[in-house]
């Protein structure tokens, strides 16, 4: 479906407009496409820009919630089992442990097996020696250990595959950098969404029969724009750390009430340590802080002493949208991890729905419920197929998995396929595939978008080298004929720096110093504006 230019405004038409390119929004997109429905997905930034990209990628066994939230736990278990069947490429079934260490409440630990049984979660008790044989990094001061079927999921890949599949099924469309500014509402119906391209400022008008708000933490704001006051969210900021290498075989959870630094999740070739939980009031300027990193580490070290000398390469934060059911809950950890689907009929709208809350593990179920509502409103009789239909992969969407591009490159043995990112071994051919076929292929696709769809910038150097190599490659392809490529490179490394900043100590300091030498001393990215404007006025030759 192409946009039609009417004056200054580009108009699009679709059956269902989905707002928010996280795992939920893309899940809804695929769910509906499988029912034969055309969707248009927009995001104010790009895929997984919010909580979907800011989590630890854990596919919950349910064990985490077994003690406090039986329903969520059972939901997690069921959904985990489904995803392991239908999204095999996105999931590593690595298993997990729950461990308590000296000082933790032994009573809490003792009840764990029973709670798991109640939620139908397989749980096996391990001796200290068994646990440490499985995970040698665990402290000697273990007091209890249980094995559960935790797994990990690559949230970027699953999102990309959702969109990719929906595009193939019904020609559905994804528009990144598109922000809703207002809704046109007529007699209980949203007729169109007025949007703006956040990069160019261009206006866009999207006509849709149904509108789904999957804006994650922003969904309250989006609902408000449509005049709906029924979505009440608590924002809980969570910060995690990424290590340079993989630190454990499977997931390691601390067996105690949820707290900082209580989970270590492998992410392919790296590990993630999390997670803080702090209630925040706004969504602006969310970034990981030194204090949050310290809290995770201080707690994590008690469980895994090696964390004290681990090289961390980055930290990141996400904001969990938690649905405020009861008044007065101010602690995000106590709020429900369940999800809510608002049909907004009480707010006088018949073709608008908001899906929010929930978690990565249950996104499919959230999409199914949303899909059921939207399909029935459209008079579509098809039932949900996502629990059975395997998620297909594609050439443009498989590059986010840690270690994949390295293996791909190594197996191909094509010496002319230049490796542009050495840390993660991302070759030129991967960049080509992304530029050509990845969902949201902007023209031209920028470095940040490439980074989102690959491992570029995610390795030890955090983009120090690859930002420059990929930029040069984009210049070679003719993407830029001005300093725009350098401006984009500067944006990219600035964004990387936000995550690097709180973990700058030890081995990451020489790496940072080298990055600064590269970006500033060599390339002059810090003085780009001055140099661009000031060059003419500065004489070139001194005394020779």
């Amino acid at each position: 479906m192409n946009g039609i230019h009417i004056g200054e405004c580009e108009t699009f038409e679709t059956e269902v407009l989905i707002i928010g390119g996280g795992v939920t929004g893309t899940g809804v997109m695929r769910d509906l496409a499988l029912r034969g429905i055309h969707c248009l997905l927009i995001d104010r930034r790009d895929l997984n820009a919010g909580a979907s990209g800011g989590n630890h990628g854990l596919l919950h066994s349910g064990g985490r919630y077994a003690s406090a939230d039986w329903e969520t736990a059972a939901e997690c278990r069921q959904e985990g089992e489904i995803l392991k069947r239908v999204a095999t490429e996105c999931i590593e079934d690595c298993g997990g442990l729950f461990v308590a260490v000296a000082g933790d409440d032994p009573g809490f630990a003792e009840q764990f097996p029973e709670h798991c049984r109640n939620a139908g979660i397989p749980c096996q008790s391990l001796s200290r020696a068994e646990a440490r044989e499985r995970e040698p990094g665990l402290t000697e001061r273990l007091i209890a250990a249980y094995r559960v079927p935790d797994a990990t999921v690559d949230p970027f890949r699953i999102t990309l595959e959702n969109v990719n599949h929906a595009q193939r099924l019904t020609g559905s469309v994804y528009l990144p950098h598109t922000k809703v500014t207002a809704f046109e509402i007529e007699s209980g119906q949203i007729r169109a969404a007025l949007c703006q391209d956040t990069r160019t400022g261009a206006a866009r008008r999207i006509l849709a029969r149904q509108v789904v708000n999957a804006g994650g933490a922003w969904s309250m704001e989006v609902a408000g724009m449509a005049g709906c006051r029924d979505v009440n969210l608590l924002y809980s900021k969570g910060t995690l750390l990424i290590s340079n290498t993989r630190l454990s075989r499977g997931v390691i959870n601390r067996l105690r009430p949820p707290g900082d630094g209580d989970i270590l999740v492998p992410g392919g070739t790296i590990s993630l340590l999390g997670t803080t939980s702090d209630t925040v009031t706004g969504l602006q300027g969310i970034r990981p802080t030194v204090a949050e990193v310290e809290r995770n580490l201080d707690q994590g070290i008690a469980m895994l002493p090696g964390l004290a000398t681990t090289r961390f390469i980055r930290a990141f934060s996400g904001v969990r949208p938690l649905v405020q059911a009861a008044e007065g809950i101010q602690d995000g950890r106590q709020a429900s991890r369940g999800f809510t689907l608002f049909d907004h009929e009480s707010q006088g709208l018949e073709n608008f729905a908001t899906i929010t809350g929930g978690k990565l593990t249950t996104f499919r179920l959230m999409a199914e419920r949303t899909g059921d509502l939207v399909a029935s409103r459209l008079g579509n009789q098809e039932s949900c197929k996502t629990a059975l239909e395997p998620l297909p992969t594609g050439d443009g969407v498989r590059w986010t998995k840690p270690g994949f591009s390295a293996r791909y490159w190594y197996q191909r043995q094509d010496p002319t396929d230049a490796v542009l990112c050495e840390c993660e071994m991302v070759p030129q051919s991967a960049i080509d595939a992304i530029l050509e076929t990845a969902p949201g292929a902007e023209k031209p696709m920028e470095l940040q978008a490439i980074g989102l769809r690959s491992r570029v910038g995610k390795g030890a150097c955090q983009g120090a080298f690859c930002s420059l190599r990929v930029t040069s490659y984009l210049y070679d392809l003719g993407h830029y004929d001005s300093n725009e490529g350098l401006v984009r490179a500067r944006e990219f490394v600035s964004e990387r720096f936000r995550g690097v900043r709180p973990v700058l100590w030890g081995e990451q300091l020489p790496q940072m110093e080298l990055a600064e030498a590269l970006h500033c001393s060599l390339m002059g990215l810090d003085r780009l504006d001055d140099l661009a404007s000031g060059l003419g006025s500065v004489p070139g030759v001194g005394q020779e």
Partner: protein, 438 residues
């Protein structure tokens, strides 16, 4: 875990875990900055789709199956140049050694494995199958010839198993096995300076292919036998003759395996330099009045991996005295920064000729750039490799031992000992010519 099927199943090793146990203090693979200086300076970069930086990254990414089976480890000569240029002093050769050791024996390059097996078979520790009794016989025969040929060496002695000799001297098997006439120049030098030295009937061989196989127990066994022989003869100094890796393999082996060695290890080069400084080897470059140009190959095993630049200085001092300062041209880079020629680490014996010659191209260019007619080197593997790439790429240089030039300069190099000299030097300073010049 294993991978591959049938014969020669690859054992998959966890490089990151193993490296953590093995690393010397302060050199941590996790500290890699991914800058690529290692790969930029490595002649094996690009072979088999691998380079040192990639090797480290793949280890960090946990690509253990790939690293456990890549044939690249046999093209890396473990020369440690990557470590030399690394700001973080990361040593890739340690990982390569681990991988070599883990390869199924039947898949390892036959040339290296057979040589090691041969070394383990006889008390000579010779890789070329020269037994102790053969060695004694060959030595006696050649010594007789020398004594008969040149009256100045009528009382030449070639002691074997001489208790309490000051120097224990090792001997690369190539000479007794293939070119026994090349033994004589070395003896003549010892005789000339009046050195108190001996060979051992056992453990005399210099080469150690067991180290190249990655089999630590075999490496240890080689060193153990040799150290035992030296200890038994109560020699004070073990002199490594003109062979590169034998020096590294012995001192490193003693250190690595905690062996008891009651002697000081030394390179013959240091003694050449000392004897020249002391006037005991009054060499000069008068014979080179035509200004034949010479360059020098620093063996990695002796210089970068062992003694370092002091030995490189000794090599240059000796070389310049021998050929004339103005006739000496250094390769670039050189000394501790020198490139491996591509003959080291068992590459020469690994049967990977195509890769070895690609590796050696950089050395060939270096030599060509000097414009030298001769390359001096105190290393047998360097010698053979540089000859091979010279021939392959159409160079016109020759490769010579130091002992050849020392004896040439002193006028004691017999006609039969000039195998490696070209026609330009075939008749120069022949014994019996006095000081006459050709």
């Amino acid at each position: 875990m294993t991978t591959g099927g049938g014969q020669g199943v690859f054992k998959v090793i966890d490089f990151r875990a193993m490296a953590e146990q093995l690393l010397p203090e302060g050199a941590n693979y996790d500290a890699c900055l991914n800058c690529g200086l290692c790969s930029s300076g490595c002649p094996a970069s690009g072979l088999e789709g691998m380079d040192p930086r990639r090797f480290i990254r793949m280890a960090m990414l946990g690509m253990n199956e790939e690293l456990s089976s890549t044939p690249w480890i046999w093209t890396c000569t473990q020369c440690k140049r990557c470590m030399y240029v690394c700001p973080m002093s990361i040593d890739v050769s340690v990982l390569v050694g681990l991988a070599r050791g883990a390869w199924p024996e039947e898949r390892k390059p036959r040339g290296i494995v057979r040589s090691c097996q041969a070394q383990l078979r006889f008390s000579s520790t010779s890789a070329m199958g020269v037994r102790s009794e053969d060695f004694v016989e060959i030595v006696q025969e050649i010594a007789d010839e020398v004594r008969a040929e040149d009256p100045r060496f009528a009382d030449l002695e070639v002691p074997i198993d001489k208790q309490g000799a000051h120097f224990f001297v090792n001997q690369n098997s190539r000479e007794p096995a293939v070119e026994p006439e090349e033994l004589a120049p070395l003896w003549k030098i010892f005789h000339y300076v009046g050195a108190d030295w001996t060979y051992g009937s056992r453990g005399w061989a210099a080469e150690n292919f067991c180290m190249f196989t990655g089999d630590d127990s075999a490496w240890r066994e080689m060193v153990r036998q040799r150290v035992e022989m030296v200890n038994e003869l109560r020699c004070q100094v073990w002199i490594n003759t003109e062979c590169g890796h034998s020096f590294y393999t012995l001192w490193k082996g003693v250190e690595r395996f905690g062996l008891q060695a009651n002697f000081e290890p030394a390179s013959l080069i240091s003694y050449y330099a000392q004897w020249i400084r002391e006037g005991r080897l009054p060499v000069n470059a008068d014979w080179n009045h035509r200004g034949i140009k010479f360059t020098l190959q620093d063996p990695c095993q002796l210089i970068r991996k062992s003694i370092g630049d002091p030995a490189a200085e000794d090599l240059r001092f000796v070389a310049k005295r021998l050929v004339g300062e103005e006739n000496f041209v250094d390769m670039q880079p050189c000394r501790s920064a020198n490139y491996c020629c591509g003959g080291g680490g068992g590459f020469l014996q690994a049967g990977m000729n195509e890769q070895r010659r690609i590796y050696g191209l950089r050395k060939f260019d270096q030599i060509q750039t000097t414009g030298a007619a001769y390359v001096l080197t105190p290393c047998h593997n360097c010698h053979t490799q540089m000859e091979d790439i010279g021939e392959y790429y159409g160079g016109h240089y020759r490769v010579v031992h130091f002992w050849t030039l020392i004896c040439l300069s002193l006028g004691i190099l017999g006609e039969s000992e000039r195998k490696y000299l070209g026609p330009d030097l075939a008749g120069v300073n022949l014994p019996g010519m006095g000081s006459a010049r050709s």
